[in-house]
């Protein structure tokens, strides 16, 4: 394929594919990302779909989107605003027009802009003029007609023909960015090996789109994004949910334990259960429980029986698990509880992202009931923090709550594959024969962890449970014993701080403004801080993965900045938590509760305002 158009190079670009739930936008976006990744770009992707499975066709509510941000340099977010929007119908324009960069490119399927669809989307006449997109590069391609034409000799039914529209659009986008079709073609060959006609029709549509774009010179100049300078190694794309599941399996391997997951499906956490259910080859036992309570209780049972036990859920499910987390705290058994946060409260915005379960994670249980809380911050580092969660749980004999969120869970990015030999060993504190008679609540002097006596081991028979106990495991209502045990459990969790890394300040180590964040906003905060720095501001970023206990150097790190601002996707839960823990500092806040990630723009604006105030 030769190119007649001019080609220019760009550092980065954002593309958003959007259409009806049935239009296959998730696949389209994924194929595009894979091609970009194979080419060597750094990238970050984010799907965004409605809560209904197939919301009514043609309506704004039914629009499904997939955004890809790729670059020659480091990419940390899926991007705020799109350079190119692919809109399969008027509703997709309606939903996304305001997210297109001033003067950007919009490709749409002209054939789908019927009066009926225009009205369904909530426009009166012409979406382009109503959205004031006249100055944009609007490419009204007759996609439906073109695929019909291209596939007319295939003898496919009309539905199957139209189903390739997304490939036509993808072909166009490949041309815009000077990409090869090879990877996508291979995908179809493999996927439809048993149905070569379908494979072929998709490939034909893909090529048709490509040539169509070339013919009409859809974008001039064509944009080229060179491969990024990334570390040598083997890479793959990974989503947060897959990375989480894999982190658990990796930890089990390092600990010599078997994985057991007891879970109940819930968006956006289901992918973790699904991924683990598929890993029977690695011996994972997955139990789809009757509800969240059974999910955690089966897991706790499995932990008692000696497995690396996990339960995964999202906000409402975590609420249901609260009581049993308390039991895990009392039983002092290892357990990883994964909470993929979504928009709340209650059912809220179930497919959207939010960071509003922090307080629940920290405090949502009766009594004095501390658990370790950690949070992942990028799709791929879900692997690391899931591994860490399991390691802490096992080595400290405690439930660990791992927080991710809808953005991380569904988002994906290229990931340099680690080698198992480079991961740390995990040492379960198994009880052994030397400990007969076994005292279930006797503690390791350093970690304060009790030892783990696995049923089936002769001589270590013992009883545990949710009532307060003595060292021996006898039920005790003795006041002083209770207070002692409450303190032991608190100290045990606090002592995890001995084994976690110091908080690192990213950007300036001291200066005018310290941006503080936690969990899934890291990419956004890094990008904003980087840009602010490059604009000359003295700004640093303190991003937390360890929430309870906190790293030991927080006070020190915080004290080096004139101002501190805590940015999070809730009403200020981490800010409040910091007020409790580090009362000496004043905390400004940047909050957003819209079911969406931050935009770099809004972050920067708010930071600049703070920087400019006295």
């Amino acid at each position: 394929m030769t190119k007649n158009s001019q080609v220019i190079e760009r550092e980065e670009v954002v593309i958003r594919f959007s259409g009806d739930s049935g239009d296959g936008m998730q696949l389209t976006g994924t194929l595009f990302s894979d091609t970009a990744a194979l080419f060597g770009n750094d990238l970050s992707t984010f799907p965004d779909y409605p809560a209904e499975i197939r919301a009514p066709q043609g309506t704004v509510g039914g629009v499904s989107g997939f955004q890809v941000h790729l670059g020659h340099s480091e990419i940390n977010t899926p991007g705020d605003y799109a350079d190119v929007l692919v809109a399969m119908n008027p509703a997709a324009v309606k939903a996304n027009a305001k997210w297109v960069k001033q003067g950007g490119t919009i490709i749409f399927d002209k054939d789908n802009f019927t009066d009926k669809n225009i009205e369904k989307a909530g426009y009166k006449s012409d979406p382009v003029s109503e959205e004031k997109l006249e100055t944009y590069n609007v490419i009204a391609a007759p996609i439906s007609s073109m695929v019909k034409e291209a596939l007319k000799d295939f003898g496919l039914d009309p539905k199957s023909v139209l189903r390739t529209k997304n490939m036509f659009a993808l072909g166009m986008v490949y041309w815009l960015f000077d990409r090869k079709l090879k990877y996508t073609e291979q995908y179809f060959d493999k996927k439809f090996a048993r149905n070569p006609e379908i494979a072929e029709s998709n490939k034909v549509a893909l090529r048709a789109g490509y040539y169509y774009a070339e013919t009409i010179e859809a974008l001039n100049p064509v944009i080229k994004i060179e491969p990024a300078q990334i570390a040598k190694g083997t890479y793959r794309n990974i989503s947060g949910n897959a990375a989480t599941a894999w982190g658990i399996i990796a930890a089990a391997e390092k600990a010599g334990l078997k994985v057991f997951i007891g879970s109940y499906p819930i968006t956006p956490a289901t992918g973790i259960l699904e991924e683990l259910a598929a890993r029977k080859d690695l011996g994972v036992k997955s139990l789809q429980a009757e509800d969240e309570i059974a999910g955690i209780c089966t897991a706790l049972g499995a932990s008692f029986a000696g497995n690396l036990a996990v339960t995964s859920t999202s906000g409402p499910g975590l609420a249901l698990k609260s009581e049993a987390i308390g039991l895990a705290v009392m039983a002092e058994l290892p357990l990883v509880v994964i909470n993929v946060q979504r928009g709340g409260p209650s059912t809220g915005l179930p497919t959207k992202t939010e960071q509003a379960d922090l307080m629940q994670a920290l405090y949502g249980r009766n009594g004095e009931c501390p658990v370790v809380v950690i949070a992942a911050s990028t799709p791929s580092d879900c692997f690391i923090y899931a591994f860490e969660a399991a390691k802490i749980a096992v080595e400290h004999m405690t439930p660990v709550l791992l927080l991710t969120d809808g953005y991380l869970a569904n988002g994906s990015e290229p990931w340099k594959i680690p080698s198992m030999k480079d991961l740390p060993k995990i040492n379960p504190p198994f009880a052994d024969k030397k400990e007969i008679p076994f005292l279930p609540y006797k503690r390791d002097c350093e970690t304060l962890a009790r030892s783990w006596a696995i049923p089936g081991t002769p001589g270590l028979e013992h009883r545990i449970g949710g009532l307060e106990k003595t060292l021996k495991g006898t039920v005790s209502y003795i006041p002083e014993n209770h207070e002692m045990m409450v303190k032991f459990r608190a100290d045990k969790v606090a002592k995890v701080a001995d084994n976690i890394p110091d908080l690192k300040i990213w950007g300036e180590e001291s200066g005018d403004l310290l941006v503080v964040g936690w969990g899934g906003t890291k990419g956004y905060l890094m990008t904003a801080v980087r840009e602010l720095q490059s604009e000359g501001y003295k700004v640093g970023l303190a991003h937390f993965n360890y929430i309870n206990p906190m790293p030991k150097n927080v006070n020190d790190a915080f004290s080096k900045f004139r101002k501190i601002v805590v940015a999070e996707l809730n009403m200020g839960q981490f800010a409040d938590y910091l007020r409790m823990k580090y009362q000496d500092f004043k905390y400004a806040q940047i909050n957003k509760v819209q079911g969406l990630p931050f935009t770099i723009k809004e972050l920067k604006e708010k930071c600049i305002k703070l920087l400019e105030e006295k």
Binding site: W246, C297, G301, G306, A309, M420, R463, I464
Partner: protein, 340 residues
């Protein structure tokens, strides 16, 4: 396997050092004795027993057993036990629960454990009351019972435990009485030997809050006439002098007197606990005084695949042909690319 060795225990070997804290006269004491006896007959090494419970007087049980034990939270014993057994199918897992624990708050886990046919043994202590919280009605309390939360009598229909169990696809259901240690021991042994979820309803007396609730059928004076002990393969006969029996009258059970109307032993129904179709077992489980004798013994015991072994088999089957053998394999599987 280690289990094949014959382990010689006495009940004392299963007594823990913790003081038994039930009320004097509580039926739970007898159940404890019977279970400790039953365990000696199983030939399973002590360390392979795990006793799991919820919350309630009955749920204190694991503390008194010198085995692995986990006193859980209210209603969740079946779920915890399911996890224990799935994680380690080699264990002999016992779920000790009450009528409140299993059927009120724990109803869902109870029916799902049964549906999955996970190989655990559920002993349901049915005293038709919440003992530990001092006397509120339970889902098995008879309609009209006056309790602290039903000072004017309950207006709720109780569950029939056996019917609920079978309705949830239960494959083993038995009933016994706390005080009948010999019968109980035998039933616990059968429950333990059955592969799959075994539910034993123990008619248990709470001397404090519901004293004598089972006396009208199980009282020393009347029990021979008001209960029938079912044995697989045996005719259904009961009464002080073995003078009564059960026959089928159309689609219903009927009590008959032997010798009357020309009825003899061979007219009686023969108990078939192993029949998969639960028709008659439903009726047997539902027999109530005064129309019928209450059925004791193993009412239903049907073989079937169990969840825990199915899980293991599926994994083993998949692992055999699997390309991915360890985490490094998985990490490097599928679409990967090299940056040089």
């Amino acid at each position: 396997m280690a289990e094949l060795k014959n382990f010689q225990y006495t009940p004392k070997d299963f007594k823990s050092d913790q003081e038994v804290r039930w009320c004097p006269g509580c039926g739970d004491h007898a159940v404890l004795n019977a279970v400790q006896k039953a365990l000696t007959e199983l030939g399973i090494p002590k360390e392979k027993f795990a006793f799991i419970s919820g919350i309630g007087c009955s749920s204190r049980f694991p503390y008194y057993m010198d085995t692995y034990g986990f006193h859980g939270i209210h209603g969740r014993a079946a779920a915890i036990a399911t996890g224990v057994k799935t994680a380690n199918p080699e264990l002999s897992v016992w779920d000790i629960t009450g009528d409140g624990d299993a059927l009120a708050i724990g109803g869902n886990h109870f029916i799902h454990a049964i549906r999955r046919n996970i190989d655990i043994n559920i002993l349901l202590f049915n005293n038709e009351i919440y003992g530990l919280t001092k006397g509120q009605y339970s889902p098995t309390s008879e309609k009209g019972l006056m309790t602290k939360t039903s000072p004017f009598g309950t207006v709720e229909e109780p569950f029939s435990v056996g019917e609920l169990v079978i309705g949830a696809k239960g494959k083993f259901f038995a009933r016994t009485i706390d005080a009948n240690v010999a019968l109980s021991t035998q039933i616990y042994v059968e429950a333990a030997k059955h592969k799959g979820t075994s539910v034993v309803e123990v008619l248990q007396n709470c001397v404090i809050f519901n004293d004598g609730i089972h006396d009208k059928v199980a009282g020393r004076e009347v029990r021979d006439d008001r209960t029938i002990i079912l044995k697989h393969g045996q005719p259904m006969i009961f009464g002080k002098e073995n003078e009564k029996g059960l026959v089928l009258d159309g689609l219903k059970l009927k009590v008959v007197k032997l010798g009357e109307n020309g009825i003899s032993g061979k007219n009686l129904l023969v108990h078939d606990a192993q029949e998969a179709n639960p028709g008659i077992q439903y009726m047997l489980a539902n027999m109530r005084y005064p129309d019928y004798p209450v059925a004791l013994g193993v009412i239903r015991s049907v073989e079937g695949k169990t969840y825990d072994t199915d899980v293991e088999e599926q994994i083993m089957g998949i692992q055999k042909g699997a390309k991915i053998k360890c985490m490094d394999d998985l990490l490097n599987s599928g679409s990967v690319w090299k940056v040089e």
